[in-house]
Amino acid sequence: MLMIADYFLTFSGVKALATTVQRWVVVISTIALALGVANITILHGRIVLKRRGKWYLSLWQIFIMWLIVVMGSVLTTAHPLFRLLFDNMYLNPYNTIVTLLCFSTFAAGYRALKIRTLETAVFFVSALFLMLMLAPIGEIIWAGFPIIGRWVADVPSVGSMRGLMIGAAVGLVAVGLKTLLGLERGWLGRE
């Protein structure tokens, strides 16, 4: 209620109180990160101590996590050694794994986009124009691809997205009101 009041009212007392609460959120969020590290250490530490399943992966997880924490704290995140670890053990391998998704997307597109009904035909034609709008070769093949693709992106796609957004926003207001009035108690663990 305080945040809603701060958003719509301009009383200095409300603003000061809201600012204080916002600072508390920043502090709590920072502590939550440390809590997350502690939780992961406890969770995987139990697995290592009991030698359950692939416990060596849990040991590796704890080792790497604390290595990064200690190095970041002692050397700072701008240190070349930390950057080397970050780039070569986190960023690049993560991006490599993510890139593998393109293979499954490619194969899924081939298998899934079979035109059997009118709806799938419309879906395929829309996807065709959108893909060729985004790929530079589309405008080389035919100047109409980006024009029609732009229309598909700006008119039917945005129209349906707008409907979804407004529907979700109305639902969110309803849930928010129920929560503030105490009618929705699921977040307290009660039904």
Partner: protein
């Protein structure tokens, strides 16, 4: 012909690998048209007066760096090319590392830290912190990334809240990102926002562009190449476009082949009946 409907996925993977490898090692240099949105974002930054204060909010995660990284670098390079004051910040834990990575990927053009740009690093708290930062940034952030008090940094002496910023540039994936800025910066303080997003999430932001609450929402991969052309600094964005083009054509070819196989199979089945 039935085999067209069930091509071994290893052939599909091998085709994709060969296409991407060839196009990456020997790019064809296919021409690229600049879209209306990229031109609008570029012109908005070009028209900023000298000395304007800009918030550069890098809200990419590690997964988003692949798509949004080239655009993030292009945005920052453009801001550094102009006589602007840039405050860099991130609201996601990965942002801090990616801000440093972006800073090492650009030409600083002789700009001085603390005078022309300052890095505030990662600020925890998501959209709540964003709102607090907009109201009074010193209530949320006291020091820069290196621990220097903000009052000791020359360019931060005139910056106290969102009202002091002329523009927010926000390459992002996920929350809080551009939507948080719309709610906490654009609506209350009328600060214009330019964002780049993964292509599949751009439709979510186009209503905001049409309503005027966003200046532009750029689809990261394609727009990064266009932006690199505009700022005349070719990079990863342009390098990827040939592979994107041929990969798209290959996917469409496989889809057409699969559909030919499906039609043939259904006709053969009908004939037998």
């Amino acid at each position: 012909m039935r085999a067209l409907e069930r091509i071994d996925r290893r052939i599909i993977y091998l085709t994709l690998i060969v296409i991407v490898a060839i196009m990456t090692l020997t790019p064809a240099g296919l021409p690229l048209l600049i879209s209306r949105e990229t031109r609008l974002a570029y012109d908005t930054i070009e028209k900023l007066p000298a000395g304007a204060q800009i918030l550069y909010s890098l809200d990419l995660d590690i997964m988003g760096w692949l798509q949004g990284g080239p655009q993030a670098i292009a945005f920052l390079q453009h801001l550094l090319n102009r006589p602007l004051k840039i405050v860099l910040i991130g609201w996601r834990p990965d942002s801090e590392f990616l801000i440093l990575k972006t800073l090492t990927s650009v030409d600083l053009k002789g700009k001085k830290y603390g005078v022309d740009y300052v890095n505030l690093g990662f600020v925890a708290g998501g959209e709540t912190a964003m709102a607090g930062f907009a109201a009074d940034l010193r209530k949320v952030v006291r020091t820069d990334y290196g621990g220097t008090n903000l009052d000791e940094i020359p360019m931060m002496k005139t910056i106290t809240s969102a009202k002091d910023f002329s523009l927010v540039v926000c390459p992002n994936t996920g929350e809080p990102g551009a939507l948080g800025f719309i709610r906490q910066w654009r609506i209350p303080y009328n600060v214009p926002i330019i964002t780049s997003q993964p292509p599949m999430t751009v439709p979510e932001f186009v209503p905001h562009v049409q309503a005027g609450t966003l200046v532009a929402a750029l689809p990261a991969i394609r727009s990064s190449a266009e932006y690199e052309l505009l700022i005349k600094k070719p990079g990863l964005g342009i390098a990827a476009q040939d592979a994107v083009s041929l990969g798209t054509l290959a996917l469409l070819a496989f889809i057409v082949i699969g559909n030919i196989g499906t039609v043939w199979a259904s006709k053969s089945g009908a004939n037998r009946k």
